[in-house]
Symmetry: C2
Subunit: 430 residues, 2 copies
């Protein structure tokens, strides 16, 4: 039974921009039918102004707790100022968290995401235990807090539960890394079993090639395959990571994951960052998914990934807010294209075969994220949960922009500011 | 006589962040006194919430009419997709303007600037004559429209009145460039005389090294010197511009301007872009001003200027919204730093001698722009007109950000969205 018929003057649905679309939403919050707004008079029509409707945005990579250090890591220190010195500041924040503190900052970050149009987040969660590494009475204490924060905000969550074992090849974890570490793969998988049994949507997540051994990664990948779960990892974010990997494994991080069988299933593996790939890695990742986090990759001096080459090789691209200094997937999408223009000195880099750019960026911010998180939908299509974002075309940003160009304008020049309403599973959240 | 005593919980005044500041504003809209908010009880105290007050932002480089093609230049065309193909689309928009149309789009752009905290704009104005190059009955017709748009919006204007003569060395203007061109330097200066006599704040603006001869630039620089006016030009935006300049003049664009005496007066010359400088250019520009436009420089595939090297050489840095696809100097400031991190793989690049970053970026967005436009102030100090921006610290963006870090957070992670009020010459504009 149709509960509400939403009328969208413009909608990007099923990958195409359409005028006067009607979304019939049933009592379960699903799209029963996508129709023509002019076609018939529904009793419960609801319009939210002159707007462009998009599928809910999907944030494929977040560390919610890092929201707590927004703007607080930019004082120049003596010596190297890099990703690695930033990590020291970030570890201090991670050390200071208690369960209530983690819940509070995660809830803030998720609430900010929802207001920015994000309806589904992949939380790459690695702070598990007490500061000295001792598990809490419930070893999933902090994971439950993340789950609770998502529920209380009303955002969909894929918990990318992180496995972390070492500081690098043959190195025990640093003191500041102890609380990230389970005692064994079995201890970790036991926590994952518990979370899954409680209905939490979990992804298997070796933190990075430096934080786990090949044997451990192989076990994790096998578990993910057995239970049809996605696998995420940080991959080739920094040159030093590649050098250390080559010294240990004689190949790149993507090469090492390939050896572990991580690419056996199409698009169930997501490499986060991929800013320092070698030639062979583009082929290796061509059947998989890459999550770019352009604002964080700039902040941390990581570099610019070759998104057009990945896309043309067949890799599925998604976006993440990562450090959450900035929470705005519209900007992440824009910078995916714009940073590439800076690197190559040319324009219109990610455009599709028809020459269009906006739909490619919108796709990365929606469907690409859903692919990365193993969700079946995110296209405002029949049968899907009604997760949607309402972009106000009466915002002065769109003055002088023909509606047919609104998608390009939003994703090449905009921010999330003109988002006026966000719907999750049929419920208006703002 | 004090008309209003504004109370700022936090203010960036005179280049320092201070708590509980009181700005006594006189009936003429000037700051009569900067004091301690706790010190004495003014009869007409006015507070605008828990806010950080900044000087009004100064936009040193704008082409207002290009606001009309926001989001409409991103369809991939066969062949080259670059700055030069973008220029074709931009010229089509310039061709289509009539006086009313120019007024309307300029007013829209200036209004958007004001809402984004910009209190002073340098409009680099080059559409002067009818589409075929014939002057209007009043040869300043379109310049007056720009002046009127600024007055109607209430934004300060420096009219960077452009001189344009040719398509390149020995090349007559293209048909689409005819309306930019005066018949001679004298005809141009006669227009400038008229504008100045009417009280318009004018800058002398040879469009670029390709658009004027050395002799013409020399005459323009001499006039600017005689009348104490600033000189602006587009400089080394694209490699091709440098190659053509070297072929014609045997030196870089900065080298050619040096020969014309453009650098005789400290900080009265502004090079816009400077994305492709050679070794000697850094020394040449060390006593002058450079205006970076990072979002446009990304959009057009121009590249990344070496802002830290310019700054350490002594060059004054300012910011511009340029194409106005994006109108947000907070983002421009952020990307000045962040694009450099992308290029160099390191963090904390523009930080000052004390290690601070936020003040450097805030300076570029305020005082640096005032320097470029030849304005004597922009620091929220005694004797200055009260031009101010009120940043709402209760905006969720600042949650978990200690106020002492608010400047860093805003300029490294923010946008202009938390700006709640803008004051121009003592008048609240929003």
């Amino acid at each position: 039974m149709i509960q509400t018929a939403y009328v969208a003057p413009w909608a990007w649905t099923g990958g195409a921009l359409r005028r006067d679309v009607r979304f019939d939403v049933d009592a379960d919050g699903r799209i029963a039918n996508v129709g023509d707004a002019n076609e018939r008079g529904e009793p419960l029509r609801r319009t939210l102004g002159n707007a462009l409707w998009l599928p809910g945005l999907v944030n494929a990579h977040s560390h919610a707790f890092q929201r707590g250090i927004r703007g607080q890591t930019h004082r120049r220190a003596p010596g190297e100022n890099s990703f690695w010195s930033w990590r020291t500041a970030m570890y201090a924040a991670a050390q200071a968290l208690d369960p209530d503190g983690l819940y509070a900052i995660t809830r803030s970050a998720f609430a900010e995401m929802l207001r920015a149009g994000i309806t589904h987040v992949g939380e790459f969660h690695y702070v598990h235990h007490q500061p000295d590494g001792t598990p809490y009475d419930d070893p999933n204490e902090l994971s439950w807090r993340v789950v609770q924060a998502a529920r209380d905000v009303g955002i969909r969550l894929t918990l990318l539960e992180v496995f972390y074992a070492r500081a690098g090849a043959g190195k025990a974890p640093l003191p500041q890394q102890r609380r990230f570490c389970d005692t064994s793969v079995d201890a970790y998988l036991s926590r994952v079993d518990t979370l899954r049994a409680a209905g939490v949507d979990v992804g298997i997540t070796p933190h990075s090639i430096r934080a786990a051994s090949i044997e451990q990664i192989r076990e994790l990948v096998a578990y993910a395959q057995e239970h049809d779960l996605v696998v995420h990892t940080h991959l080739s974010e920094q040159p030093r990571e590649n050098e250390e990997c080559r010294a240990e494994h004689g190949t790149t991080p993507a090469g090492a994951f390939e050896r572990c069988g991580a690419f056996a299933r199409p698009r169930r593996f997501t490499a986060v960052h991929a800013t320092h790939l070698d030639e062979d890695d583009f082929e290796r990742l061509s059947t998989q998914s890459v999550c770019a986090c352009p604002t964080t990759e700039a902040d941390l001096g990581d570099g610019i990934l070759d998104a057009p080459r990945l896309a043309s090789a067949g890799t599925s691209l998604s976006l993440g807010s990562d450090s959450n200094a900035i929470i705005d997937l519209v900007q992440e999408a824009r910078l995916l294209e714009m940073n590439d223009r800076l690197a190559r000195g040319a324009r219109c880099r990610l455009n599709d075969d028809e020459g269009a750019l906006g739909p490619v960026l919108a796709h990365a911010a929606t469907r690409g994220g859903a692919v990365a998180l193993g969700a079946s939908s995110s296209g405002l299509q029949e049968g899907e949960p009604f997760d949607a974002v309402v972009v106000d075309l009466d915002d002065p940003f769109f003055e002088h922009v023909p509606p047919a160009h609104a998608l390009d304008a939003l994703f090449t020049a905009g921010t999330s500011a003109p988002i006026r309403q966000v719907v999750v599973h049929g419920r208006e959240m703002l």
